[in-house]
């Protein structure tokens, strides 16, 4: 009987070994970390790939780089000049789609474990992508002749990183137009659409012509995936960055102030060009 008992136990052990010893020595550490989801990681990867394809590389060489947010996109000046293609604008829109997925996953699915730095950086990425999309729309509308001039220089003597202007050709046309209410007609339909969209993308600002005889155009980005605006996302980035490290606030606010200056310039110019504007309630 003892032998039978031992045989039974042996069978139990052998069966257990056969069942449980599958596998190898390598560790299977979880790919998706706490505070993220596989969908969020996947969407972020896609967004980063798209932005890299456009030429935007967010380079944070070390955590200390957070104190210089303008250095996060070191080649922004070159990228801005190359954004005048429909393909790139479509890519930017797709990047916004993917980043919205990331944000939604972090807010709803990460079970309250999403990190402050992730939230800050996703909002920062979204803010920059909205801004680039706005610039892209300006440059696409320049077909065939240049109308809008946008430059980026964080070391500009004026202290403003972004310079927004119109070409001399358009300035001459403005001077030659007698009635300021007719100024919008100086711009082509496409150009008018570009700065209406850009104002919406950057600051959620709604523009419409002052003159009743000019057919108002509505923003073409008042739809998904453009749920917010660059300034809104950048402000959110500051809020999260502040909670992550109070030292970061002043520097990020400096960054946002420069984007806000750009939006101010566009908005004031649009007033000069015969438009009125409505700011969103959050501003």
């Amino acid at each position: 009987m003892i032998s039978k008992c031992i045989m039974l136990l042996t069978s139990v052990i052998v069966c257990s070994m056969l069942i449980f010893t599958s596998g190898c020595f390598e560790r299977n550490d979880p790919i998706t970390a706490l505070g993220s989801t596989s969908k969020a990681d996947e969407a972020l990867k896609k967004a980063e790939t798209i932005l890299e394809k456009i030429g935007i590389t967010f380079t944070l060489k070390d955590p200390g780089g957070l104190t210089n947010p303008e250095d996060l996109v070191p080649n922004l000046g070159n990228v801005l000049r190359e954004l005048g293609s429909v393909e790139k604008e479509m890519d930017l829109e797709e990047a916004v789609v993917q980043l919205n997925i990331v944000l939604s996953e972090l807010e709803q699915e990460a079970k309250g474990e999403s990190s402050l730095s992730d939230m800050a950086m996703v909002h920062f990425y979204l803010g920059i992508t909205y801004l680039l999309d706005a610039v892209s729309r300006f440059l696409i509308s320049d077909d065939p002749e240049e109308t809008f001039i946008i430059e980026y220089d964080p070391k500009s003597p004026s202290g403003k990183w972004f310079a927004f202007d119109i070409s001399m050709r358009v300035k001459v046309k403005l001077v030659l137009t007698d009635n300021p209410l007719d100024y919008p007609l100086i711009f082509t339909l496409k150009e008018r659409q570009a700065f209406i969209d850009a104002a919406d993308l950057i600051g959620d600002t709604k523009l419409k012509p002052r003159a009743p005889n000019i057919q108002p155009q509505s923003s073409s980005v008042d739809r998904p995936p453009f749920l917010k605006s660059a300034l809104w996302h950048l402000e959110q980035a500051v809020n999260f960055a502040q909670q992550y490290s109070p030292d970061l606030v002043e520097i990020h606010e400096e960054f946002n102030r420069n984007i806000s200056d750009l939006e101010d310039t566009i908005r004031q110019d649009s007033v000069d060009w015969g438009y009125t504007y409505i700011l969103p309630p959050w501003r």
């Binding site: 009987m1 003892i2 032998s3 039978k4 008992c5 031992i6 045989m7 039974l8 136990l9 042996t10 139990v12 052990i13 052998v14 257990s16 070994m17 449980f20 010893t21 596998g23 190898c24 020595f25 560790r27 790919i31 998706t32 970390a33 706490l34 505070g35 993220s36 969020a40 990681d41 972020l44 990867k45 980063e48 967010f58 380079t59 944070l60 060489k61 070390d62 955590p63 780089g65 957070l66 990331v102 972090l106 474990e113 999403s114 990190s115 402050l116 730095s117 992730d118 950086m121 996703v122 909670q243 992550y244 490290s245 109070p246 030292d247």
Partner: protein, 419 residues
């Protein structure tokens, strides 16, 4: 017929116990709770509750010392566990030192193109090391056991002294997986635990024959009590995050408050000033049911009672292990001389991860004073391997062991004198 039914009942009961226990003690939380591990069991999935025929019984199952038939003195001058990551890093330390030296000698270490390759290698190495698991475990256990045989009754009394030190550091990934390393680490947390312990205690066990469910068996029961003194530096209760490193004045950004880095974690200028000293005790108990010399079933309860007092008293987590072992070479019609093939399965609640432990050890005994062992095992879903040579009183063991914390290389040299 009655015996057969009893056997089935017995086997069923064992399985029910193992699987109920696996559910009760299962937890998805990764833990770096430590348990003394001996190298021989590590090679076979750390299953040793039953195979306690040497000094390891003091730590795995106190009932095991009742199986020691002659006075035994065992001492381990060398016992080292090192994570594979740390082992690899130490192996390549010369390259790192050369690269760092060249970069540092440069006039412009950050931008000099002449040391670009060295700089890149150092950065790559740092990035790799950040996600490696670094750990080391050193101990020098010493045991002495005196058995007393009175007819069929065997009583053993033993004493043990152990000095043990363990250091573990691991980065726990958190949040989104960014392409850039520097972005990725911003929300990661660093788990560290450095412990130095001295412990001493006594163990007693006795073995006697009984009849259980009509089966003639030998029952061993043992209990041990240990006095423990510990020194500990850890952030287990409140993990150190990268943002803590970036905020030396804490989240309120006001120097001199409780959330300052040096108040919350440690003073970087004097990291050892924050060592916590604790003392306490633990009581372990165990039972082994020996079905002749062919098979055993064992159950042990570690920290049945126990606590460590630091600033506040902490109860030691209770932990149980249950296992079955069969010596295949002793089976009827298979009585192979000069060889043991030991097969074991069981469950240990300490690893916090549901899974059955499995172990197989083959021991060749070509000479009376020489034995050579090969081992394979499975512990909480990870495979382990081991080998050992026993020559007279010298016992040399190696194990490649994987657990929820890391993959380990483990070595030991033991001297065991039996009279």
């Amino acid at each position: 017929m009655v015996i057969k039914r009893n056997l089935l009942l017995f086997a069923s009961l064992m399985f029910v116990l193992i699987f109920i226990a696996s559910e009760l003690f299962a937890s998805g939380v990764e833990s770096i709770v430590s348990q003394y591990k001996s190298i021989r069991p590590m090679g076979m999935g750390n299953i040793f509750t039953t195979i306690t025929d040497n000094g390891d019984a003091f730590y795995y199952n106190p009932a095991g010392i009742a199986n020691i038939n002659h006075p035994l003195f065992a001492f381990q001058p060398l016992r080292l566990l090192i994570t594979r990551d740390l082992y690899d890093e130490i192996g390549n330390i010369t390259q790192l030192a050369d690269d760092v030296g060249k970069v540092r000698q440069s006039d412009d270490p950050l931008n000099n193109p002449d040391v670009a390759d060295e700089r890149q290698r150092v950065l790559n190495r740092m990035e790799r090391m950040f996600y490696e698991t670094l750990g080391m475990d050193i101990a020098t256990p010493t045991q002495i056991t005196f058995p007393v045989n009175i007819r069929n009754f065997n009583l053993a009394i033993g004493a043990t002294v152990n000095g043990w030190s363990e250091s573990k550091v691991k980065v726990l990934r958190h949040g989104l997986r960014w392409k850039s390393f520097a972005q990725d680490i911003l929300d990661d947390e660093i788990l560290y635990r450095i412990i130095a312990e001295t412990s001493y205690g006594v163990t007693t066990a006795f073995k006697f024959p009984i009849s259980l469910l009509s089966l003639p068996i030998e029952l061993s029961m043992g209990i041990s009590a240990m006095k423990i003194n510990q020194m500990l530096i850890t952030d287990e209760d409140d993990l150190l995050s990268v943002s803590d490193l970036l905020n030396p004045n804490g989240k309120d950004n006001i120097k001199g408050t409780a959330d300052d880095f040096e108040n919350h974690f440690f003073n970087p200028d004097d990291p050892f000033a924050c060592i916590s000293k604790g003392e306490g005790y633990s009581v372990d108990a165990g039972v082994i049911v020996l079905l002749t010399n062919k098979a055993e079933v064992a159950f042990s309860l570690r920290n049945l009672m126990g606590k460590i007092t630091y600033d506040k008293t902490k109860k030691l987590p209770k932990d149980f292990a249950i296992s079955i072992v069969v010596n295949l070479t002793k089976l009827p019609h298979l009585n192979i001389p000069m060889m043991d093939v030991i097969l074991a399965t069981g469950l240990d609640s300490l690893s916090n991860k549901t899974g059955v432990q499995l172990g197989l050890e083959t021991i060749l005994k070509p000479l009376k004073f020489l034995s050579i062992s090969g081992r394979i095992g499975r512990n909480q879903g990870y495979t382990s391997l081991g080998a050992g040579v026993q020559l007279l009183f010298l016992d040399l063991d190696y194990a490649f062991y994987c657990d929820t914390f890391a993959n380990w290389h483990a070595f030991s040299l033991k001297m065991a004198f039996q009279y």
